[in-house]
């Protein structure tokens, strides 16, 4: 049958063999793609559908002793752009950027630029961060309308007490590129991460930071999120417990702020431990300005603040508060005669030079009166009797001119003043120097913190503590990462009765005379005023104090410095009173509560 047809069969066979060959080629390529290159394509497919967003962990809290939260976190949203796979029209991009711009205060041009960059790299990009929850409704709607927009809930730093303890807490800000290079190796920092820039925020950055989370999002080709594949939850940073008493801290700040100039420093120490109960330094700032909700106007780099911490960096002559040292030196060297009385005519002469007292106090000025009235004449004479060397020795005993060792960067050591020091500097010591030294003027300089440590040493009869302000650092799981205990640096040993004498004198200063401004009913307040001469302007007012319940050991030591505050009695003493009052109010209300609880 086949023979009747002259089919050109070999050409058909050629074509069929060709079909088989192309089938073989196709099979080879299929095996190559699906078997040999399987891994490569699998990772590409994963890359296609996965977008990773980092989620900043909430920083650890910073707390005061009473549990008050000084630094916490607030909900804030970040708006991300997840690039679609197909290049969208320029028109749509402009539309998106305009819509986002309208709701976030960020300029349309910037947003468009970020979107374009993101499209180029294929990676998710942060459009706007720190969005307030009240802006979210409009943005959530946009998210539904335009694929590619994604809102992520994060947190931002918030300081409920505003400027309170700003110098201690510090602030956070976007890190510099150089810092990122250092830190990115250790912890999960990204270029736009915020880090502590000063204070506790900087010192405990590692502990406060926590671990950032990561969201693995599955996105479709339009950039719309279809599901969350994996959620590596963030871990909150460790909490830092400070030794601060929030009401006392507030009182200290208010007291300085409401003084004549509103500038100055106040330090409150726990006499029994050296813990810093309050440390105020004004001018200060509100650290919240570095972490505001997005309003389009904030520009971190333009903010100017005074990071100068007067309490540890401000150096001032101790002035009349130093008379306590002169008195102790005299007592120690046996030259102090409590019965001796001076006649203050308002000045004395030494080697033909006139040295003035701030007031002509008249006759019958004994030691207590001299202290009460802060009579320079009395202490000129006492200093001459005691000798400058003994006074210098007493400064050294109380560690003047040396850092207190508080764990804060930039602490100043101040300096000691006396003949040995002069000799080291290869200059001469004159009699007039002794007079200046006796009343605390001249080259001697102290920080308010040193003054407070000194006050605490007087109060505790010679115990010099290393001041500390961090009680402990506790991880979220409750593990204590760091704990500070009080550290006795030195026990000053003086002749018996020396401290009792000073206590008596300082009590009567507050009760009867120049320190009256610090007097509080039913509280034993000990204090000494000081007026540091300032050749460049108004004098600075000092007040050194410690206080305790009536007939009990002193509990707190306070130093107040009002910059340009003129007299110590008029400005610094009332400020100290407010601070001490705040401390005891807090203590008594706590006692009362405890008593009620017991009942």
């Amino acid at each position: 049958m086949k023979t009747k047809l002259n089919f050109n069969n070999h050409r058909l066979i050629i074509m069929f063999v060709l079909a088989l060959l192309s089938g073989a080629l196709i099979a080879y390529r299929l095996i190559f793609i699906q078997f040999i290159s399987h891994q490569k394509y699998t990772s590409q497919a994963e890359k296609n559908r996965t977008q990773i967003l980092y989620q900043t962990a909430p920083r650890g809290q910073i707390l005061a002793r009473g549990g008050e939260v000084l630094a916490s976190n607030q909900a804030a949203f970040s708006l991300y752009y997840l690039p679609p796979f197909e290049m969208p029209d320029e028109k749509i991009l402009i539309e998106i950027s305009e819509a986002v711009s309208k709701n976030t205060f960020k300029s349309q041009k910037d947003i468009l630029q970020i979107i374009k960059k993101s499209l180029k790299s294929g990676k998710a990009a942060l459009l706007v961060d720190n969005l307030a929850p009240k802006n979210i409704f409009a943005l959530a709607e946009l998210q539904n309308f335009y694929p590619g927009l994604y809102l992520l809930e994060e947190t931002k730093r918030y300081y409920p007490y505003g400027a309170s303890a700003a110098h201690l807490l510090g602030y956070i800000g976007t890190m510099e590129k150089s810092t990122w290079k250092e830190l990115s190796g250790e912890l999960d920092y990204r270029l736009n991460s915020k880090i502590g820039k000063s204070g506790i925020e900087k010192r405990y950055e590692k502990e406060l930071k926590g671990r950032d989370g990561g969201l693995f999002l599955e996105v479709n080709y339009k950039g719309r999120v279809t599901q969350i594949m994996k959620d590596n939850r963030w871990r909150q940073g460790a909490d830092v417990y400070t030794t601060l008493l929030a009401p006392v801290q507030q009182a200290a700040e208010d007291a300085v702020r409401n003084s004549l100039t509103g500038r100055g420093a106040a330090v409150v120490l726990d006499v029994k431990t050296g813990a810093v109960l309050a440390m105020a330094s004004l001018p200060d700032w509100d650290p919240n300005i570095f972490t505001p909700y997005n309003t389009g106007k904030n520009n971190e780099s333009k903010i100017k603040i005074s990071e100068y911490n007067l309490a540890i960096q401000g150096l001032f002559p101790p002035a009349s508060t130093f008379k306590t040292i002169t008195a102790l030196a005299a007592y120690e060297s046996g030259t102090l005669d409590l019965k001796h009385e001076d006649n203050c005519t308002g000045h004395i002469y030494l080697n033909g030079r006139e040295f003035k007292c701030w007031k002509a106090h008249g006759p019958h000025i004994d030691f207590i009166k001299g202290m009460e009235q802060s009579c320079d004449t009395y202490f000129y004479n006492l200093g001459l009797k005691t000798g400058s060397y003994n006074i210098e020795k007493m400064q050294r005993k109380f560690r003047f001119g040396r850092k207190t060792g508080i764990d804060l960067p930039g602490e100043k050591s101040g300096n000691i003043y006396g003949p040995t020091k002069r000799a080291n500097l290869k200059t001469y010591w004159f009699g007039g120097d002794t007079l200046n030294l006796s009343i605390g003027q001249g080259e001697l300089l102290l920080t308010p913190l040193q003054m407070a440590v000194y006050a605490a040493a007087l109060a505790s009869k010679g115990k010099i503590w290393r001041p500390y302000y961090i009680e402990k650092v506790v991880s979220p799981s409750g593990k204590i990462l760091e704990e500070n205990k009080s550290e006795l640096v030195e026990q000053v040993k003086l002749k018996d009765g020396a401290f009792e004498l000073i206590h008596k004198a300082l009590k009567s200063v507050v009760d009867n005379a120049t320190g009256r401004g610090a007097k509080i009913k039913d509280i034993a307040v000990y204090g000494k005023t000081g007026t540091a001469q300032n050749p460049h302007g108004d004098d600075h007012g000092w007040f050194l104090a410690f206080a305790g319940e009536e007939n009990e050991e002193p509990e707190i030591a306070v130093s107040v410095l009002i910059q340009f505050g003129k007299g110590g009695g008029a400005q610094a003493a009332p400020a100290a009173r407010k601070i001490i009052q705040a401390y005891f109010d807090l203590k008594h209300s706590k006692d009362k509560q405890e008593n009620e609880n017991v009942k």
């Binding site: 050409r11 058909l12 192309s22 793609i33 497919a45 994963e46 339009k222």
Partner: protein, 446 residues
């Protein structure tokens, strides 16, 4: 083959082919379902497909039972019908995706070009079968050219480039197997090469202009694309070379008819100008496809995006695949045209290498069965009809698989029985029915 076994003798259907078709259609159904699941079009697409399936089976039964030899007598009417359809679609059809190629009645649309692809095979087979003695003659080829060109012109007016891409090679294969003089193939191939190489070269130069720096020849080739004078010089050079070549061959006592030499030379010149014309009128998306083929990694998000994503889908499927409805490339929309031209990518992602090799195997099986049936057909028309249908499915397979694995540029060619598309499914099933019809009547003597 016809001895002994009475079972084969009386069999009315070639069952291996039927099984292969059922296998492909089932694979196709589930792959389309997976490809469109979760999209807005899912319901309408699946509904259309479910309606198209019985229509396609009817078309198969029609092709099988309706005596194919009737087409041989009435192929001119069929030709007239094809022309009518193509004119009508230009006049009354709707525009979808930039081409004027759809009829729409009620809720359904129909693409006449799909039917015409098969009809052209039928017509050509009938035309050649009608003049078995003159197949080798130039006149036959000329007549063939005369009636095929208007059809192509009408298709290009839609425009439906992919129909040409499928039909033209299939018709060439049919002519070749039918026994057309090999010399004419040399002419056609010379024409096609000239028409194809130059646009590709120009596109390549456009992609990598730096190649012009050190190449005199390429610089000159480039100048051909925009200046008519070098084109004329180039044509003259071709003619001159052929004339010189003819004289040289004559000198070595090799005699080739001068006329044939000149026809070849003119066909090359014509091919060159054809390429020139194509280059001037090519659509920008078509040029992008050529660019993507020439440089697939140059712009992964641009023109080569489709192929790259399809390959990622297939490659990530591995040997066993990710399972139905589990392909991420598919589900998340990274593979474009995923229920039509690129459906193999979805199959590869979800059913793995096993799935793609299975489909490939079924295609080879079908091709083999068509060849087998062709060899057993009872008349020349049946033989040529089977060869034509073999050719068109060979082209479908080679181009659709080839496009996915990166050896052929993207041309928008579906994979029959797997891809979604009612018109294609129905006309492909009709074609299979025709082959079964030839098998059914293999023992008849007309």
């Amino acid at each position: 083959m016809l001895n002994n076994n009475s079972g084969i003798k009386t069999r009315k259907l070639d069952w291996p082919m039927i099984y292969a078709l059922i296998g492909l259609c089932v694979m196709g159904f589930f792959t389309i379902l997976s490809a469109v699941s979760g999209t807005k079009e899912m319901v309408s697409i699946m509904r259309t497909h479910i309606i198209a399936l019985p229509v396609a089976i009817s078309a198969f039964v029609f092709g099988w039972l309706f005596n194919y030899q009737i087409y041989a007598e009435h192929y001119k009417k069929l030709y007239a019908f094809v022309i009518f359809l193509l004119v009508a679609v230009l006049a009354f059809g709707i525009v979808a995706r930039g081409s004027h190629s759809w009829f729409r009645f009620g809720g359904f649309s129909f693409q006449p070009a799909e039917l015409c692809r098969i009809a052209l095979i039928v017509i050509t087979a009938a035309f050649l079968a009608a003049r078995p003695r003159q197949i080798k003659s130039f006149k036959t080829l000329a007549i063939f050219g005369a009636f095929i060109l208007p059809v192509f012109a009408l298709i290009m007016m839609q425009p439906d480039f992919s129909s040409i891409v499928v039909t033209a090679p299939a018709l060439l294969i049919l002519l070749f197997v039918a026994g057309v003089n090999i010399y004419y193939f040399v002419l056609i191939i010379a024409f096609v090469l000239m028409a194809g190489i130059f646009p590709i070269l120009w596109t390549y130069i456009g992609l990598y202009p730096e190649v012009l720096d050190n190449s005199v020849i390429l610089g000159w080739v480039n100048s051909l694309s925009f200046d008519i004078i070098p084109c004329l010089i180039f044509s003259g050079v071709i003619l001159a070379l052929f004339i010189i070549g003819w004289f040289m061959l004559k000198y070595f006592r090799i005699f080739v008819p001068f006329s044939l030499t000149m026809v070849l030379a003119f066909s090359m010149v014509a091919g060159f100008f054809g390429g020139y014309f194509v280059n001037k009128h090519i659509k920008s998306y078509q040029r992008k496809r050529i660019e993507a083929f020439l440089a697939p990694t140059a712009d992964p998000k641009g023109a080569s995006y489709n192929v790259l994503q399809a390959q990622i889908a297939m490659g990530s499927g591995g040997v066993l695949g990710k399972g139905f409805f589990s392909g991420t490339q598919s589900r998340l929309g990274f593979v474009p045209e995923r229920h039509t031209d690129f459906i193999l990518a979805i199959l590869g992602e979800e059913r793995g290498l096993i799935g793609t090799l299975f489909v490939l195997g079924l295609y080879i099986l079908i091709l083999w069965r068509i060849v087998f049936i062709a060899q057993n057909s009872s008349d020349l028309f049946g033989y040529l009809l089977c060869v034509g249908i073999f050719a068109i499915f060979f082209v479908y397979m080679a181009f659709n698989f080839g496009m996915l694995i990166g050896i052929v540029p993207v041309a928008g060619i579906p994979l029959p029985f797997i891809s979604y598309g009612g018109s294609n499914l129905v006309s492909s099933m009709w074609a299979m029915g025709l082959v079964e019809g030839v098998y059914f009547r293999r023992l008849s003597l007309i």
